[in-house]
């Protein structure tokens, strides 16, 4: 009992030392593992950023090349493509090319647009071609639809603000609509909030009504 009693502290001490050594070893391993993963994440983030930048640059070159090819076509052909094949209204074409509706009417009547405006037409047509190759069923409708329910922001708003890269990332599914809007304007919720909604009235027409529960 005495021996046993005298042995106990020694054994306990050895066991404690062993535990401490093992704990220290495990801690060291975990720390190394943690450090390794942290370093990998950092590298992955850098690589991801590089890939994103590279992708955006390559896509921008692709868009520029497509724009150059489109710009060689007659303005009337481009207008017909946008209105007939893409289903855009003349007013939408005017807005997206940042010209007045009366300017578009003049182009349709045969007045040639300036070089800058012709390029704007070509860019819009090229952009929609690019979107059509992504998982977007109808690029014309896609641009005009609200991005987030109960807010009025649409793809057209971002196109007019020249956020083509963001829109293409969104079309490809790389970012969500809210992420894209956060990048565009951190105050987008206030900017695009509307207290009004469109409802079908009993007479068969549509009416404007104040929202019952606003966000």
């Amino acid at each position: 009992m005495t021996e046993s009693t005298s042995m106990t502290p020694t054994t306990d001490a050895a066991a404690t030392r062993l535990d401490t050594d093992q704990t220290a070893s495990a801690s060291s391993t975990l720390r190394q593992l943690n450090d390794s993963y942290a370093a990998l994440r950092g590298e992955a983030r850098l690589i991801n950023t590089d890939i994103e930048t590279g992708h955006r640059t390559a896509r921008r070159y692709d868009l520029d090349e497509r724009t150059s090819l489109k710009a060689k076509r007659a303005p009337l052909e481009l207008l017909d493509e946008l209105a007939t094949d893409r289903g855009l209204s003349w007013a939408t074409i005017a807005r997206l090319c940042r010209v007045s509706v009366s300017a578009v009417r003049k182009w349709r009547a045969g007045d040639p647009p300036s070089g800058e405006k012709r390029l704007a037409l070509a860019r819009l047509a090229a952009f929609l071609d690019l979107v059509a190759e992504m998982p977007v069923a109808d690029p014309g409708s896609w641009l005009s639809m609200p991005l987030v329910a109960q807010y009025s922001a649409t793809g057209e708003d971002l196109f007019v603000a020249d956020r083509l890269d963001d829109l293409l990332d969104y079309a490809a599914g790389h970012v969500t609509a809210k992420e894209m809007l956060d990048m565009f304007d951190e105050n987008w919720r206030a900017r695009f909030a509307s207290d009004w909604e469109i409802v079908d009235a009993p007479d068969g027409e549509r009416s404007i009504r104040r929202r019952a529960h606003h966000r």
Binding site: R86, S89, V101, S102, D138, G140, S141, M145
Partner: protein, 232 residues
Amino acid sequence: MLDAPDEPEDLWLATDGVPSARPLMQGDVLLGLPIGNDGEAAPGMILTHPCSMRAGKKLRPRQTVAQIVHQPISLEQWAGSHYDFMPLPGLEVPELDAPALDLRLIAAVPTPILVAADRHAALSEIGIHLLQQRLTHHLTRVVVDLKTFAEHSAPTLLEVELQEDWVSEAMRRVKGDADLAEAQQSAENEFQNLLDADDRRLRGMLSQPPTRAQAAREVRTTIRDRRGADGS
């Protein structure tokens, strides 16, 4: 508080005459309407909302218009003053250096005097939304944002565009000795019947953002096919 256009020219679809193929629309300007003092001829603008202009396919017998008067208002003054007016910069009206729509001078006129071919000018979509915003505020003191008006009007305004294209193409194919008025009426009826066919399928598509472009594609493809059919 109220919105203004970036540039005066953004207000206008046309200021030097409007093609007769475009249906009568809110924001159309006509000269010589009997709405001045004692029924004197005066320039005016159609105010009737597009949803109220017609009963079915036919225009209602009377439409509301407001008189255009001289009232200088700068772009900077749009937002916070002159709420009884809709400034009309860029519009050329004889004897009015600074035309503005006086929203207090509203009258109902017989529809037949609003001759589409006699229209002097027409507001653009943005112009119509600005008019709707000022008119709503004038009548109710409620401010509605332009985007709400834009979404509400989108099906009607696209329909107007498509009808103009449809009728223009039909009129281009009319032979020299045909009755032009009859031909235009026939084209307008054909277009409305197209929208109403199959339980108003195209109208339904126009009313919803996800299918609006598809409806426009269908109509314009038919127009293009017709244009191609006669080799032009």
